[in-house]
C-alpha cells in the first residue's frame, strides 16, 4: 500500500504545511475580507434601501394628508366665499326692493292726494251746478228767486243726506 511507505511521509507533510499555510494566509488576508466586505456592503445597502423606502412612504403619507387638509380648507373657503356673495346679493336686493317700495308708496300717496283733490274739485262743481240748477228750477217752477245763501245751505244738506 503506497500510503504506508514511511519515506514518503516527510515530503508530503512538508508540502502540506507549505500549501496549507499559503492557502490560510491568502484566505485570511485577501479572499475572506473581500467576500465579507461585499456581503456587508450588500446587507447595508438592503437595510438602507428598506429604511429609505420606509421614510419615503412616510413622506407620501404626509403629502396625502397635507393634500387632504388643503382640499378641505379650499372647500371650506369656497363655501364661505359663496355664502358671503349670496349674503351680499341678498342684502343688495333687499335694499333695492326697499328703495323701490318706498318710491312706489310715495307715488301712490301722491296719486291718492291728486285723486282726492280732483274729487274735491269735482264735488265743488257738483255743488255749484246743483245750486244753479236748483235756483233756475225754483225760478222757473215757482217764480221764487231763492236767496243764494239759503240755496247753498240746502244743497249742502241734501248732499250730506245723499251720502
Amino acid at each position: 500500500m503506497p500510503q504506508l511507505i514511511i519515506t514518503d511521509f516527510s515530503p508530503q507533510l512538508v508540502w502540506l504545511v507549505i500549501s496549507f499555510l499559503a492557502l490560510f494566509l491568502v484566505m485570511w488576508k485577501v479572499a475572506l475580507p473581500r467576500i465579507g466586505d461585499v456581503l456587508e456592503a450588500r446587507q447595508e445597502r438592503v437595510t438602507n434601501d428598506l429604511e429609505k423606502a420606509e421614510s419615503l412612504r412616510g413622506e407620501a403619507d404626509d403629502a396625502i394628508k397635507a393634500y387632504e387638509t388643503a382640499l378641505s380648507e379650499a372647500r371650506a373657503s369656497a363655501h364661505n366665499t359663496a355664502q358671503a356673495a349670496r349674503d351680499e346679493m341678498n342684502a343688495k336686493a333687499d335694499a333695492k326692493r326697499g328703495e323701490v317700495e318706498a318710491k312706489l308708496s310715495g307715488q301712490m300717496a301722491e296719486a291718492d292726494a291728486r285723486i282726492a283733490a280732483a274729487r274735491e274739485v269735482a264735488v265743488g262743481h257738483i255743488r255749484t251746478v246743483a245750486s244753479d240748477t236748483a235756483k233756475s228750477v225754483a225760478a222757473r217752477l215757482i217764480g221764487v228767486d231763492v236767496d243764494d245763501a239759503a240755496l247753498e245751505a240746502a244743497v249742502a244738506s241734501s248732499m250730506t243726506e245723499g251720502k
Binding site: V14, W15, L16, S19, V38, R45
Partner: protein, 245 residues
C-alpha cells in the same frame, strides 16, 4: 507498462518530481505536492477572481464564493457561536482545502492528496492540538472537567474518566482515518471497475454504467467528507470553548 501500473493501488503512488533536501529532511516535490499546489491555486483563483467585480448583484462565480463563505460562517456560528468567529479563516481554509483536494482528485489521472493517511493525519493532529491548546489557554485546569461529565454518580467516575480520555485521544485518529479511508476506497473502487470495463470488452458497458453512478456517489462523498471533517472540527472547537459535552 508493468503489472504494477494496473494495480488499483498504483494511483496512490508518490512520485518524486524534484528531489529536494532541506537540512536532512526529505522535502521532495512530488505528484502529491503538485496537486496540493493546484488545489490552493484553484481555490485562490475561484475566490479572488470571482470577487473582482464586487458586484452588488452577484454573478454565478461570485455567488459560489459568497455561498461557500456563508456556508462555513453559518456552520461555525451554529456550532460554536460568536466566539468561533476568530477561527473562521482556519476552518474555511480547512474545508476548502479538503473539498478541492477531494474533487480535483476525481479528475482522471489526477492525484488525491487526501487519500494519504499522513496528510489527513497531519490536518487532524493540527486540529486536535489546536483545539486542546485553545481549551487549556481559555480554561486552565478547568479544561480537565471535559473528561468528567456533569451529573454522573461519583462511583462511575473511575470508569468514565478513562473512557472519556481515550475517546478524546482517538479524535485525531478517527478524523484522519475517516477522510483517508473514504477517499482511498472510492478511488480504488473506481479503478477496479475501470479494470472490468477493459477486461469485459463489449460487456464492459455494464461496469461503465456502474462507474458513472459511482462517480456521482464519489462527488457526494468528496463534499460530504470535507463537510464532516469541518463540522467535527467545529464541534471539537465548541467543546474546547464552552466545555459542555
Amino acid at each position: 507498462m508493468s503489472a504494477e501500473k494496473h494495480s488499483p493501488l498504483a494511483q496512490f503512488e508518490i512520485k518524486r518530481l524534484v528531489d529536494i533536501d532541506i537540512a536532512g529532511i526529505d522535502a521532495s516535490f512530488t505528484n502529491s505536492s503538485l496537486w496540493m499546489i493546484i488545489t490552493i491555486v484553484a481555490i485562490t483563483l475561484m475566490l479572488t477572481m470571482s470577487m473582482r467585480g464586487r458586484a452588488m448583484v452577484p454573478g454565478r462565480w461570485q455567488s459560489v464564493a459568497e455561498l461557500s463563505y456563508e456556508f462555513i460562517a453559518g456552520m461555525l456560528r451554529e456550532n460554536v457561536g460568536s466566539q468561533g468567529r476568530k477561527y473562521f479563516p482556519f476552518v474555511f481554509s480547512l474545508f476548502m482545502f479538503i473539498l478541492f483536494s477531494n474533487v480535483l482528485g476525481l479528475i482522471p489521472y489526477s492525484f488525491t492528496s487526501t487519500s494519504h493517511i499522513i496528510v489527513t493525519f497531519g490536518m487532524a493532529i493540527v486540529v486536535f492540538l489546536g483545539v486542546t491548546l485553545i481549551g487549556i489557554i481559555r480554561h486552565k485546569a478547568k479544561f480537565l472537567s471535559l473528561f468528567a461529565p456533569a451529573g454522573v454518580p461519583m462511583f462511575l467516575m473511575p470508569l468514565l474518566i478513562p473512557i472519556e480520555v481515550i475517546s478524546y485521544l482517538t479524535r485525531p485518529v478517527s478524523l484522519a482515518l475517516r477522510l483517508f479511508a473514504n477517499m482511498m476506497a472510492g478511488h480504488t473502487l473506481l479503478k477496479v471497475f475501470g479494470g472490468f470495463v477493459v477486461a469485459l470488452g463489449v460487456f464492459g458497458v455494464f461496469p461503465l454504467v456502474a462507474i458513472v453512478a459511482l462517480y456521482g456517489l464519489e462527488l457526494i462523498v468528496a463534499f460530504l467528507q470535507a463537510y464532516v471533517f469541518t463540522i467535527l472540527t467545529c464541534l471539537y472547537l465548541n467543546d474546547a470553548i464552552h466545555l459542555h459535552h
